[in-house]
């Protein structure tokens, strides 16, 4: 899932300055699971903002709403069943940046600002801990690397083995983090597949990473092609 973290409060406060009616819009999917932008986090942010603005004698009205998903038009369009978007000067979205952008597209006459910094695609390691696992490189190498991604886990994204900096199996960049290539070596050895590591991996094909990328499912192609 997508993991995000809240922007510094000061930055959020600055980005909403000048607005008299604000809607804080949460997202109930990834960012709710990673405790960054779901209903509870919206309530906390709203309360903090209200107090901070009141302390400066600013009369700002803040409403809260959380929808299931902000990365899907169907869900965004349902907002108007709960609130009238035109009542607000500004929407502060606590979705990932994809959600913020779609929201901004749907309500392109409204100022939409982000409350989060979208950080990575990752997994939940345990309560309150998430780690990055994928860089969305569009050219997955996991079959050859024992299910451990060097593009993501190696600080340099090396494809053919470790650099010379790993210290006792830990990354030169951060002694708290494992060296991806030591992990890969150990996993492949355990699986009896070290030959996969001995193979020379060609340079990454950045051409397969279309930016911005679009995927149209085969079954829907007829809809979108003339």
């Amino acid at each position: 899932m997508i993991v995000a973290k809240r922007k510094p409060f000061k930055e959020i406060k600055e980005s909403v300055s000048g607005a008299n009616k604000i809607l804080i819009l949460g997202c109930g999917t990834c960012v709710a699971v990673c405790l960054a932008g779901g209903e509870k986090e919206v309530a906390i942010l709203a309360s903090q903002l209200r107090m901070a603005l009141q302390l400066e004698n600013q009369n700002v009205h803040i409403d809260e709403l959380t929808i299931e998903r902000q990365c899907d038009r169907e869900f965004i369009e349902q907002i108007n069943t709960s609130v009238n978007v035109d009542d607000y000067d500004l929407i502060l979205s606590t979705a990932c940046a994809a959600g913020v952008q779609l929201l901004s597209d749907v309500f392109d006459h409204k100022v939409v600002v982000p409350g989060l910094n979208t950080t990575f695609i990752g997994v939940a390691e345990g309560p309150g801990v998430w780690t990055e696992r994928c860089r969305a490189c569009s050219d997955c190498v996991l079959a050859d690397t024992g299910g451990i991604c060097p593009v993501t886990i190696c600080a340099k994204g090396l494809l053919n083995g470790p650099c010379g900096g790993a210290r006792n199996g830990k990354c030169e960049v951060d002694p708290e983090k494992d060296c991806a290539w030591v992990l890969i070596y150990n996993r492949l050895e355990k699986l009896g597949r070290l030959d996969k590591m001995k193979k020379i991996h060609a340079p990454k094909r950045y051409s397969v990473q279309e930016h911005p990328a679009t995927i149209i499912h085969e079954a829907y192609k007829h809809r979108y092609t003339v």
């Binding site: 600080a155 340099k156 994204g157 090396l158 494809l159 053919n160 083995g161 470790p162 650099c163 010379g164 900096g165 790993a166 210290r167 006792n168 199996g169 030169e172 960049v173 002694p175 060296c179 290539w181 030591v182 890969i184 070596y185 070290l194 590591m197 001995k198 020379i200 060609a202 340079p203 990454k204 950045y206």
Partner: protein, 290 residues
């Protein structure tokens, strides 16, 4: 020096190389003086490419100065700062000004340097860079396009015999040799058993191993210990010996390592790293019995 570095590599004689940091700024006077002092002392003079991600002058310019002073340079090239287009362009440019020896490295991470917000490029890794340089030597770029005039590089790579675990390093070194490295300059070594294990592994190939010797100095001990120098793994007993030692003692410690390497006939040469103390290199060699 009649013999080229490439010829010296195959001649079987014990090689002495060192590498210098390029200047930070345009003043070449200091480095020209250092190059002058090392002429005749070393077989080749390496020039680092933004070592530890600290921004310095591009190494090709210093390599040119090295050539002008009658010494053969080894240009370090890091994958951290340039993508494959820029790397190949720079290799061609280097060849055009007479640089033949190229040391292909991944590069220390950006976070160690003085531009921590820079984007770490790492478009290709050191294995890819070696094969790209090899391809250029063979008349093609990485994409297979023919070149009009091609360089004749002597390619080197790095490895760390002190790495723990060593096996993943060895797998990578094998790849570096496979794609065309004819010499290896190791990270600083301290433990002869580790070096022997490493050398035994690559013995089958024709690759020449140049062992890294670091001049350890007391003022840097905390940094050696805390990992500020990536790839430099100094054993604790040596750190204790160095802490509080004077420079002569430090020179002797480095000299002892050279003696151990020489007496066990472990490898084909040494690479002395003595940043800021280059003037001590002749003394280190003397202490090492060379």
């Amino acid at each position: 020096m009649g013999q080229s570095f490439e010829e010296a590599l195959t001649s079987g004689k014990f090689l002495i190389v060192t590498s210098l940091d390029p200047p930070k700024g345009t003043d070449l006077e200091g480095i020209a003086g250092v190059i002058g002092k090392l002429k005749g002392v070393v077989n080749a003079l390496g020039v680092y490419d933004n070592p530890r991600a600290l921004m310095y002058m591009s190494p090709w310019a210093i390599c040119r100065l090295v050539i002008e002073q009658g010494v053969e340079p080894i240009m370090h090239v890091t994958c951290r700062d340039r993508n494959r287009l820029a790397l190949q362009s720079d290799l061609l440019a280097a060849a055009s000004i007479g640089i033949k020896n190229i040391l292909c490295v991944s590069g220390d991470h950006v976070m160690f340097g003085d531009h921590v917000d820079a984007k770490p490029v790492h478009d290709i890794d050191s294995v890819h860079l070696l094969s790209a340089a090899k391809a250029l030597s063979e008349g093609n770029d990485m994409a297979g396009n023919p070149l009009k005039g091609s360089p004749a590089f002597c390619l080197g790579a790095t490895a760390n015999p002190e790495a723990n675990p060593l096996e993943p390093q060895l797998i990578k070194v094998d790849k570096k040799i496979q794609v065309g490295a004819s010499f290896l300059i190791t990270q600083p070594v301290f433990n002869m058993d580790n070096l022997k294990r490493f050398v035994d592994h690559v013995k089958e190939s024709k690759v020449k191993v140049i062992a890294g010797i670091d001049l350890l100095v007391p003022e840097e001990v905390p940094k050696y210990r805390d990992g500020s120098y990536p790839g430099l793994f100094v054993p604790e007993n040596l750190l204790e010996e160095i802490a509080g030692a004077d420079i002569e003692k430090c020179v002797n410690v480095a000299g002892d390592l050279i003696k151990q390497i020489k007496s066990a006939n472990l490898c084909d040469g040494i690479h002395i790293s003595a940043p800021g103390h280059e003037e001590k290199i002749p003394d280190i060699l003397k202490a090492g019995g060379l």
